[in-house]
């Protein structure tokens, strides 16, 4: 889990945005649209990151096809301190 998080955030393209999504979803569930407004990112970008995070079992979705809400998976919640560690090292912005 630790290595996976590092890879997803620090090893791949767009890792910062991914970290922002995890951070936001830790506060409360969002759907893709709300996330793109909250983080001021392109909807397609958000969709892409959501798919990667979902494929890697970092986040989970509930609800139907439209307006799916996303929240952190239980394994991600259990390992949130690892994420905090990474997040703290991300500089300003």
């Amino acid at each position: 889990m630790k290595k996976l998080l590092w890879w997803l955030i620090a090893g791949m393209k767009g890792g910062l945005n991914r970290a922002k999504i995890i951070k936001a979803l830790n506060d409360r569930p969002y759907n893709a649209n709300q996330l793109s407004e909250e983080l001021q990112l392109d909807y397609k970008t958000i969709r892409h990151h959501i798919k990667v995070l979902e494929d890697n079992n970092i986040i989970k979705a509930t609800g139907g096809k439209y307006g799916k809400m996303y929240f952190l998976s239980s394994s991600m919640e259990n390992n949130y301190d690892i994420f905090d560690e990474i997040w703290e090292q991300i500089g300003e912005k």
Binding site: W6, A10, G11, M12, K13, G15, L16, I86, G91, K93
Partner: protein
Amino acid sequence: MTENFMNIGPNIGPNSTNMGPPDIRPENMNPGPNGFDVIGIGTYLAIIVGIANICLLIALIYVYMKNYRQLKSKFTMGLLVFASLLLLQNVVSTGFLVLNIVLGMGYHGFDIDRPQAPLSSINIIQLIALSILLKITWD
């Protein structure tokens, strides 16, 4: 005596070799029993693969550099160093091949051409490996 020196002169260029006698074969003869074409194709293929590797590595370094700026850690640093060393290796080896062509492939071309088949197959494997790495990095 002086004439001898004059004859040696032209052979001390890039075309000269220190392995084997340089003056057995006449100038401009195609080196090797397989003829010029085999050597040419092998070398050009190796150069093309090398340049492709360099492009892939530059793309990887671009991503790793961006990540390193955002997140200074052993992990991001390691990725950056890893890709940079591979880039150095490819630039040097491809550079030698290009130099070899630019400076003219004399007997020298044949000398370093022999291990070229296994070497360029390593390069091709590296190309495949780097493509996979870039793909999962870019996702």
